[in-house]
């Protein structure tokens, strides 16, 4: 499973966002994820993947792609690749 799928799966699990709505959305806002729900999602990703988002990145993450690319970068750093 790639990072984008993991992010969307966690959004579905934790935030009760319907699957169809998630698939169609490119931004968090389109999926109905507000600033608070985004924080909950980020904490869930951190716990699932054992990574830690730097605070400076949080403001800039508006789309699922933004989130996925940060996740991929953090995973790469974690595994030293």
């Amino acid at each position: 499973m790639n990072a984008a799928d993991t992010v969307k799966q966690l959004a579905a699990e934790r935030l009760d966002v319907p699957g169809a709505r998630l698939q169609a959305a490119s931004t968090l806002r389109e999926a109905g994820i507000d600033s608070l729900a985004a924080i909950d999602l980020i904490v869930a990703i951190e716990e699932r993947l054992g990574i830690s988002f730097p605070e400076r990145d949080l403001e800039s993450m508006r789309s699922f792609d933004d989130l996925a690319s940060v996740v991929e970068r953090l995973l790469a750093e974690k595994h030293g690749t």
């Binding site: 934790r14 935030l15 009760d16 608070l36 729900a37 924080i39 909950d40 904490v43």
Partner: protein
């Protein structure tokens, strides 16, 4: 401008059940919601001897989405459950015009205690960050905020924290705000979710909690009995929909009760010791506010926490206010079955009075096993008394810190 203020909706959740029908049934039969706390509840800090409490069933949380539970402490969950029942009963659901100038007045003593405890446990025991919404679920005004959001109530939003008098003060202040014309209506009452390990142990450390009756833990709360040993902590929420008499009439709403008087006082004496003079001052103030005489009161729902000093003080206060008639007035403490809801106590007990008044019975002081020569009033001992007409009742709430609040309600006068 002095308007009549009426109750058009009641909602309650407590150890006796998740709505007012369950509360009414338990009061009419004397069923107790007190039980021994599971040993596993305290985790590594397991405690002997057994302790008792009156907890809300954990199934109540199933009414909320997983994500909602991240920022809804049980204190807010309970408030929303009781608020929904009250709101639906009142019929406000169908009348959004009221919401624009209706407020929320909510009492709570300990707020989101479980959320605070979880944050400390995450940080100190597990070496983790607190959950991201710890602040939002723990803050004292969270429950009142969720009530305003859920029901669109755009008037003043107040959280009142005066320990065990909180929700009686909340109802009293809402009553006065409506009576004076400042607001048109309110959702008023209280919520408390205090049965979390650290809080229970802290109360225990103060040496004011009841000892468990080993033969039957359900009988551990024994107000006015010679063998009373203290408070049984209870959880729950109770909310009233209050509005002006004209508003209820215009909407064609059923009126459950009229609010008649509210009195408050401070002992200004001691942080825990009750003071019968301060308590009596609040009772006299409520009577004056209602323009009633002591002889107009048919029933007193006592604060009656079952501490040795508290029950004695309240007995003296009732004698001070009611004089020669004190022994003729039925007085009971329903805490014997639903425990002490602290910041939610006054509201739950006010609703107990409304339910009893409407059904025509007096709720009992259960588990009054041995009479105490110093507590010599008519405490409606051990069995509800049926076929009794209550025209007007008084509900007492006295708090640590010396804050006293008394409400008077009655059958609708028109």
């Amino acid at each position: 401008m002095d308007r009549r203020v009426v109750v058009t909706g009641c909602g309650a959740i407590c150890a006796l059940g998740e709505n007012t029908a369950a509360l009414a049934e338990a009061l009419a039969t004397g069923r107790s919601g007190v039980h021994a706390i599971e040993e596993s509840f305290f985790g590594r800090c397991a405690h002997r001897p057994l302790m008792v409490a009156a907890q809300v069933p954990t199934t109540a949380s199933q009414r909320f989405l997983r994500y909602e539970l991240e920022f809804l402490d049980r204190v807010s969950q309970q408030a929303l459950i009781a608020g929904t029942e009250a709101f639906e009963q009142s019929g406000w659901v169908h009348d959004s015009s009221l919401a624009a100038n209706a407020g929320v007045f909510l009492g709570t003593g300990m707020g989101g205690a479980a959320s605070i405890e979880r944050a400390y446990a995450d940080m100190l025991e597990r070496g983790k960050e607190p959950r991201p919404f710890s602040v939002l679920s723990a803050m004292n005004n969270a429950a009142a905020a969720h009530l305003s959001m859920r029901f669109g109530l755009k008037g003043p939003n107040l959280t009142i924290s005066s320990a065990c008098a909180s929700s009686a003060i909340a109802i009293g202040e809402a009553f006065h705000a409506i009576r004076s014309g400042r607001i048109d209506g309110a959702l008023a009452g209280g919520s408390e979710a205090c049965v979390v390990p650290g809080v229970v142990r802290a109360w225990r450390a103060l040496r004011v909690l009841a000892q468990s009756q080993t033969a039957d833990p359900a009988t551990s709360c024994r107000p006015f009995s010679a063998d009373r040993s203290g408070i049984v902590l209870g959880e729950g929420a109770a909310l009233l929909v209050l509005e002006s008499g004209e508003s209820a009439e215009r909407r064609g709403a059923s009126v459950l009760c009229e609010l008649l008087g509210y009195g408050a006082s401070a002992d200004a004496a001691h942080i825990t010791n009750p003071n019968f003079e301060g308590q009596a001052r609040a009772m006299v103030a409520a009577l004056a506010d209602a323009a009633l005489e002591p002889r107009d009161i048919d029933y007193v729902n006592a604060h009656g926490t079952a501490t040795p000093a508290g029950d004695l003080s309240e007995t003296l206060a009732i004698k001070r206010v009611f004089g020669d008639r004190a022994r003729q007035i039925p007085v009971s403490s329903t805490k014997s079955v639903h425990g002490h809801l602290l910041g939610g106590a006054g509201a739950l007990e006010f609703i107990a009075c409304v339910l009893a008044m409407r059904a025509g019975f007096l709720p009992a002081t259960m588990h009054l096993a041995q009479s105490d020569p110093d507590c010599d009033l008519d405490y409606v001992s051990n069995a509800p008394r049926r076929g009794v007409t209550i025209r007007r009742f008084m509900s007492n709430s006295f708090a640590f810190g010396g804050s006293n609040a008394v409400l008077i309600g009655g059958a609708c006068s028109r």
